[in-house]
Subunit: 406 residues, 2 copies
């Protein structure tokens, strides 16, 4: 189950990026489960990886190879995470890279490996390696949708976003795919994202952008550090346009480029939330009037993560008491309940430490009956704000996670 | 639904404590929902209260009256939390105290009020006050079980514990009741506990003990600060024995007394967990080999709170990958995955960063099929340990919390 309409969008190819998909039978026979990205020479790659202490073997190898630069291939398998697989898992990830390099021409260090799926089982290496030639053969600039499908696990739909802008008559493209069907925090399903542009970007700026764009998108649907063993988000710049290199945060070109990159990240992040396991509501929790951005985020997460709030959302119950309780235990030093205001959509529901005098249950119910819900909170103690996106907690969440071996 | 067998125990009366229950029709007609505790003169009372910024009116008034000392009555209603009710709610709590004092003889400041139930609605004061005479009339040293039933909300069973010990031929009693049907963190249902002894204890030691015993019991089924608007845990000493006053943490009398008090607290806390909403498993998460107790607690909470671990427990699925992922994102600085060991019951499931060589799925399954499950984690980096208690996350949790307006 998933909430909202997210038809797979028109994906504009990115010059210098080719994608190929194959069916290697890693977990389920016949499923497309192996994806290769081929990058043109001089492409630059930046990445943000899981902070989980039990990071998976492919994460370790990807970070190692990325640090050397000169990346030419990414290889992703779904169906098996190659996580908690010890030294054998590391050897499997390395073998995947060297085999791909051998087939495609190049060095193992030019290949970044990724895996997602069940934890704690060895990769079926014979089948995986046997699938590589087909993936390479299929490499095409139009391979984005197949690739989006090939990296899915519990996802109910492929996730893509594509944005273009023009600068001095030249068109720049930012196109990306992601997988993950996460609710906020409760779900540690692996998130993978691959976002590419034909812009030319300096390595140091690309590195900064990867962190900053993730922070405003994927880190707003989960909490820093509360990550699965395999989470990875890659930002790739092929530099195939004739526009000058973007190497500082000044000027109109950077501003337009930045907006496009962040937009693709946010679309993908919202798409992941909307495909949350068992989700029936898409919820934005926006907190303003905080003394700092981290304070606003803390309150937003507290509300967004509260299972009591989430079950009330599932029931379409305008249960403002549970929202208020979650604000109250967020741990904001010296919070004065009397200055806090809460809105459901545009309906003021809480002020002066209790239910707003103007509020009626019918008004709240009308908002809760929607599929997209905004919870807005004004702490009334400062100028900072932040927001997170989440879903409700439904019967299907339990069903999916009790039955699926992730 | 609730897990395990917890027949209501034999409750030994505490000399100097009488309990009376009445049916005031606060939420549901005919239900026992009003409880009064009458305390003998010179009884000492200590308490631990919610840290929620939106604390309920009765909490504010209880703290205020407790600070004045000379407490003679406690009055508790279920069915309505009198929380987020602004100035009117405060006035209602004060009126409850003054009316009780008027009926029983005494001053309003000698009465501590408590409420639990729905948030954000005014107390039905006429009905509540009309119930007070009956509760006073019923006051009896044998009223513990009725009182345990009278404070219930979503609880499926009354919760009590009673322990005695002897010292120099004299018998000391510690008897207590509690309400709450909480899972760890996901559930913010109000917890109330009233634990009484006939020992004579100095006020300062009683204050210390209330904090320390809660920390080892109720704070091990929920996280400090992540509390509902109404949580309160009271420790009451009537001093009716002929033994000398306990006023220091030295000596055999203190040691025996301390064990009895902590034992009653832990029994009540475990009883609350076992009555967790929709619970089908009782789970102990024990972490050792940590560099500090807070570090051990952090890892234990991370595992105990993980919805993916909890749904796996519900499915009786020995999904050690989810346990490992939750250890990994607990935020332990510099955690080396290779030194971590994990046991399910007595079965070693993880070592050296992956599945233990000796482990078989059948062994894990045999443990998971039990109703009581121990997850033991050795971080392999220090000498400190801690433990928390929790439950699984089931379909019924969603059902209860989507349908009940708390």
């Amino acid at each position: 189950m998933a909430v909202g309409q997210f038809p797979f969008p028109q994906m504009v190819p990115v010059s210098g990026i080719r994608l190929g998909t194959a069916s290697a039978g890693i977990k389920t026979a016949g499923r497309q489960d192996l994806v290769v990205l081929g990058l043109a020479q001089d492409t630059r790659v930046a990445g943000v990886f899981t902070q989980n202490a039990f990071c998976a073997a492919p994460v370790t190898v990807s970070k190692e190879h990325l640090a050397r630069g000169d990346v030419r291939y990414l290889v992703i398998n779904s169906g098996n995470a190659n996580a908690c697989t010890g030294d054998e898992g590391l050897a499997d990830a390395r073998l995947t890279c060297s085999k791909l390099a051998e087939l495609a021409g190049g060095r193992a260090e030019q290949v970044l490996p990724y895996s997602t799926g069940v934890i704690g089982e060895r990769l079926p290496m014979a089948r995986l390696l046997a699938g590589l030639p087909q993936a390479l053969e299929n490499l095409s600039e139009d391979g984005w949708e197949s690739a989006a499908r090939g990296i899915m696990t519990t996802d109910t739909r492929p996730k893509g976003a594509s944005v273009q802008f023009t600068y001095e008559g030249e068109t720049i493209t930012v196109t990306g795919i992601a997988k993950g069907s996460g609710m906020i925090k409760p779900n540690m399903a692996t998130m993978l994202a691959y976002i590419a542009t034909d812009a030319k970007v300096s390595q140091s700026l690309l590195d900064q952008l990867a962190v900053k764009a993730s922070d405003q998108s994927f880190n707003r649907i989960t909490v820093d550090g509360d990550t699965s063993t395999n989470d990875s988000c890659m930002l790739i710049a092929t530099g195939q346009t004739s526009l000058p290199e973007i190497n500082s945060t000044q000027g109109e070109l950077f501003a337009k480029f930045y907006n496009a990159v962040v937009s693709v990240h946010i679309q993908l992040a919202q798409n992941i939330v909307s495909d949350g396991e068992g989700a029936t509501k898409f919820v934005t929790v926006q907190v303003e009037g905080a003394t700092s951005k981290p304070e606003a985020a803390k309150v937003a997460y507290s509300v967004a993560q509260s299972p009591l709030v989430k079950t009330a959302l599932f029931a379409s119950d305008p249960n403002w008491g549970r929202i208020v309780a979650a604000i109250g235990y967020a741990g904001v030093e010296g919070l004065d309940a009397d200055t806090v205001k809460v809105w459901l959509g545009r309906v003021l529901i809480v002020e002066n430490g209790g239910r707003a005098a103007s509020y009626t249950e019918e008004q709240g119910q009308a908002v809760m009956d929607q599929e997209e819900i905004m919870i807005r909170i004004d702490l009334g103690r400062g100028q900072s704000k932040d927001r997170v996106w989440t879903t409700d907690l439904s019967h299907d969440y339990i069903k999916i996670n009790a039955e699926y071996r992730s």
